[in-house]
Subunit: 200 residues, 2 copies
């Protein structure tokens, strides 16, 4: 009698369907322009049904946000195998910005949004943010040991590099770079990363 199991499975399948529809919509149209009714249309259920699976619109976003942070951290790690410290730092920056461009809604709540949903404030997930900052400092430190960043304070360098990639990400996410055609944007960002990594 696997009734309970099937119900469980169906419940998670429905949650996944909602999350998947919401992610696409959020990413295409932005959180505020996505209505619960649009999500409901997309999964071909009525509006009220969504509320059987999620407390409110914010909880849908929160769940996606969690997955975003997990993905963010994973991407930071994915670069750690690179041997050359400067190359690794550059790849680190690339991974950071790529995440922001791929999941602007996530990036927004993580680093830009003024009032993150209540759930997010008290969340343990900012620690994941600090862990990525530690990775950055580690990478800079190893670059120093390899002879780069002479006479530079570690904290100052970390703050500077973070500000730099955040600046690019924030301008992109909040659409202050829309005057640049997309095909020019990515190369420009890459050259900007080179600009910085070649400086030291």
């Amino acid at each position: 009698m696997g009734v309970k199991e099937r119900k469980e499975r169906q419940k998670t399948e429905m949650r996944e369907a909602i999350l998947s529809a919401a992610l696409k919509l959020f990413s295409d149209e932005g959180y505020d322009n996505v209505t619960m009714r649009k999500i409901a249309d997309k999964i071909e259920y009525s509006v009220g049904t969504i509320y059987l699976y999620f407390k409110d619109k914010g909880e849908i976003f929160y769940e996606l946000h969690n997955r975003g942070f997990a993905e963010f951290y994973k991407r930071q790690l994915s670069v750690q195998h690179i041997k050359d410290p400067i190359e690794r730092l550059k790849a680190h920056g690339e991974a950071y910005i790529q995440f922001a461009m791929e999941y602007p809604e996530y990036y927004d709540v993580m680093f830009i949004s003024r009032t993150p949903a209540k759930e997010i404030k008290k969340s343990e997930h900012w620690e994941e943010g600090e862990r990525t900052y530690e990775i950055l400092k580690l990478n800079i430190k190893q670059a120093m040991e390899a002879g780069y960043f002479k006479d530079v304070d570690l904290e100052v360098a970390a703050f500077s590099l973070w500000s730099f990639v955040h600046g690019i990400s924030a301008l992109f996410v909040r659409e202050r770079l829309s005057m640049l055609p997309t095909e020019f944007l990515k190369p420009l960002i890459n050259r900007a990363l080179e600009f910085l990594s070649r400086a030291y």
Copy 2:
């Protein structure tokens, strides 16, 4: 018979009251969380009255956006008298960040807030933003002519420097640096500017 003049004055006073209330609210709560009714409450008029002075919510934002840029542009110019190109560039960055720290509401509206895109996209006032970008490029170009930034593309350098100061400003304005005590923040920012200007 200065009736017309007084009416004119009253009209602009009302516009100013609306703009001032809106700026504070936008900055405190974010564009989307500010309702027309909140603005109306703050100036102690009914909702409909606002629409006698502004076409819609977006136009209020648009006007604030314009004013921010005017003040911003003035500050950028104030640095142009400095002779040494690298010192001037550094002062330029300082002026930029100082504006953000002094008028976080304006900086927010100008470079961070989600914009009602229609108004601003086609606006001639982004040109004021582009004018400041031209100043930056001019300053970089003169630094190049003085022997700095060798083998660097002008556009890439401008984009990089802008991203850098925007990153710092955005992190400050959106309170992602609140873990740093204020007395450490300014020196840190100064050292970050040095970090970059010393790189080339």
